[in-house]
């Protein structure tokens, strides 16, 4: 089952014997949306729609769209069903308000309803056993990925950002034991490398703190390279950022942290617990994922951003704005202001899945890197 929005209930889908596979926007897709979507629809959704219209969408038995996350996705889901009436489309409508237990109950019931629809459509009932296996798998993946994030904060050169992004992408594309083991192996190797440089404890501490969303000044090794860049944004493809960085000749080591939906937010989603109602568990897990801008809580997100740039010795922040993305574009000025207040250089990066303006973006990035100076006191 293909899904579009980051906080998909992977464990529930897998409990029905289906493989949740992330469907992403990709460069090189010829525009085929004009008959159905105006140009002011979010560029991400236009790319997805074009893929489908061009028959370039990866094969899947069904697609899961979200509701109540943004107006482009909401409308595109509806339009999709009219234009491609033979596609099997499911919708999961998320809560957006800080309503504690009420939100959990609501989402749990939505998930239950989704589960029933999946069973009705494919004749595959929910399996407690497969749910447990799935929960174990995602826990394993997240745990390893979290460590790698923390490791790169301490020592960015211990693993290339592109490699981390690829490992995450592989899992999201195909969450199975193989891809989970791949990332676990990478994590093990990195642990060894850090142990040798006596940085392992530092990394583990950062991992704990990131999980708890409460950071203290990180103990970085002497001679840590600069500049250290963090990058924020919504449904941006980490791979696209890598491509831009490479094209601009910027070393991947400069990127110490991303706060992307298909990166940090997915990785640092708390695991779902087993031994209790699975829908309640998954709902709790999803609603506790960090930094979700489609939900109430700007203040919390800004406080966390401040934490990150202050305590993780970040010199520069790149704020990505997906073209015509309301959540990205509304939040960007606040993110910029918050980071600037903390003494960090900020750059805005308007981006679309086709990377239409690749050349100029590369130049912008390069100039930004050239103008950043390391934070004082390091």
């Amino acid at each position: 089952m293909g899904y579009v929005y980051p906080h998909a209930p992977l464990e529930i889908i897998m409990a029905h014997g289906l493989t949740p596979t992330l469907v992403r926007a990709r460069p090189g897709i010829a525009g085929a949306f004009e008959a159905s979507l105006q140009t002011f629809a979010c560029s991400y959704t236009r790319n997805l729609f074009s893929q489908r219209a061009n028959d370039q969408m990866p094969a899947s038995s069904a697609l899961l769209f979200p509701g109540n996350t943004c107006d482009s996705l909401l409308n595109v889901g509806d339009i999709w069903r009219v234009r491609f009436p033979d596609d099997i489309i499911f919708r999961l409508t998320y809560p957006a308000a800080n309503q504690g237990e009420a939100a959990v109950h609501y989402l749990a019931d939505e998930l239950r309803s989704l589960s029933q629809s999946i069973e009705a459509a494919f004749g595959r009932p929910f399996s407690e056993e497969e749910f447990r296996d799935a929960a174990g798998l995602t826990r394993q993946f997240r745990s390893a990925a979290q460590f790698l994030y923390a490791a790169r904060v301490v020592s960015p050169q211990v693993l290339r950002y592109s490699k981390l992004a690829a490992l995450i992408h592989t899992f999201l594309l195909s969450p199975d034991q193989k891809s989970a083991n791949e990332i676990t192996n990478a994590s093990t190797q990195v642990q060894r490398a850090l142990a040798r440089s006596r940085l392992l404890d530092s990394a583990k501490k950062i991992q704990e703190q990131l999980i708890k969303r409460h950071l203290t000044p990180a103990a970085l090794p002497h001679g840590a390279k600069s500049p250290r860049i963090a990058i924020a944004g919504g449904m941006i493809d980490p791979g696209a950022i890598v491509a831009l960085f490479n094209a601009a000749g910027i070393p991947e080591d400069a990127l110490v942290m991303d706060l992307f939906s298909f990166g940090f937010k997915t990785v640092f989603t708390p695991p779902c617990e087993v031994g209790r109602d699975p829908f309640d568990s998954v709902a709790r897990s999803i609603l506790a994922s960090p930094l979700e801008p489609t939900q109430e809580g700007l203040g919390v997100r800004l406080a966390f951003l401040k934490d990150v740039v202050t305590n993780l010795a970040v010199d520069g922040l790149i704020v990505c704005e997906q073209s015509f993305c309301d959540p990205d574009e509304f939040e960007a000025p606040s993110l910029e202001a918050e980071a600037s207040k903390s003494g960090v250089a900020v750059m805005r990066l308007p981006i679309d899945p086709e990377l239409s303006d690749r050349e100029r973006l590369g130049v912008r990035l390069q100039s930004f890197l050239e103008t950043i100076s390391p934070r004082s006191g390091r």
Binding site: A35, S36, L37, Q38, F40, A41, C42, G67, N68, T69, C70, D71, S72, L74, N75, V76, D78, I79, V82, R83, R91, T93, Y94, P95, A96, A97, N98, Q99, A102, A103, H105, Y106, D109, E110, S113, P293, T294, E296, L298, E321, S323, F324, D326, P327, E329, F330, E331, A332, P333, S334, E336, A337, R348
Partner: protein, 410 residues
Amino acid sequence: MTTLGQEERHTEEKVYRQLRANSLLQEIMLRYMMEGQAASEQGKLAWVTSGFPVEIPVTMGVNVSYPEQYGAIIGSQKVGPEICGFAEELGYSQELCSYARSSIGSVRYPEKSPLDGLPKPQALLACNNICGTVLRWYDAVSQMTGAPVFLFDTPPTEGDQPSHHREYVRQSVLRLIDFLSRTFHTSFSEERLRKVGELSGEAIDLWTRSLKACRNRPSPLNCADRFLAMAPIVALRGTEPAIEFYQALLEEVQERVSQGLGAIRDERIRLLWDDIPPWFTIFRFFNGLAARGVVFPADTYTHAWSGSLAGADLLDSVVSVYSNVYLNKGLEAKVDKMCELIKEYSLDGFIMFSVRSCKRYSLGQLVSKELVMERTGVPGVVIEGDMVDSRLFNDAQIQTRLDALLEMFL
């Protein structure tokens, strides 16, 4: 000769008829603005979105102001690009909702904004039944004013609202009451809500009857009339002045119907209008069409305020009314509504205004245009523009499409 007839002779040259009720409208809205200012000074003002369950704050003695309506004022005074520019200088993209941009811009520089901006709020109440952007917009304003934001979350519905959905929204109501109690040191009473609900319902009923009168030929109201006259139903629900106005309006409308007087002098083509109108050119645009015999007896925007609170369980009614507004129901429901209006109001065609700023309302029009044409057999056209940002309005391109549509009726 009736008074109306005498007025007729004076306004012979104009293609449209002025509503007498407009002067009452101005009075009421002016009073409303002043009350808002006073409330703000007393620390009792909240800004609300147009689809917010306003009966709750009104019940609890909190005054409300409407940034969206203020956006319409900014648009009408033709300062949209300027005020939006203030927000753009802060880094807000031109691709964002122009109501939001103009609101943020006027919060930044109230002294450079019409009426010196909206009075300062003590709370920001957003309900996402009209779009998902409102939360982010109000977050931005919260940053600038320090007023706390509250989100009344009404997840979009698809067909019948399931019980877990209703339960969740009901919790929103309780949470809202709690928030308002704490923030404004006030309390809630179901008794008072019933009273406010009745007032709100009465105004809605009167308004709806004026809307329905447009089924007549000629239509007693054009859409421009309704776009102005909707102000109290948006901003003054639950209060007496709203009833006063809609009573006066209905009387005048009924007078016109009984005398066979239309909103425009020479009604030849009846069309449906979809989406928010271009406030900055509302008279020129619609009167220009009126001069060609085109009237709009119905539109989806003014028909969107129709739910009243009723029944034994008022909170349940709040949940139901506010979860099921036009913009919260999905594409099929929009198409159904448009087809219904076309049939009920005997319309010859439709114009869909593709408001660039408003994804919630406008995305899907390319598809709904086809579906509506298919199901009703009447022709329609999609034109592009914006409701506040006049930079996004290309006269020539719009005229070509309108002309081509009208040529189909000859």
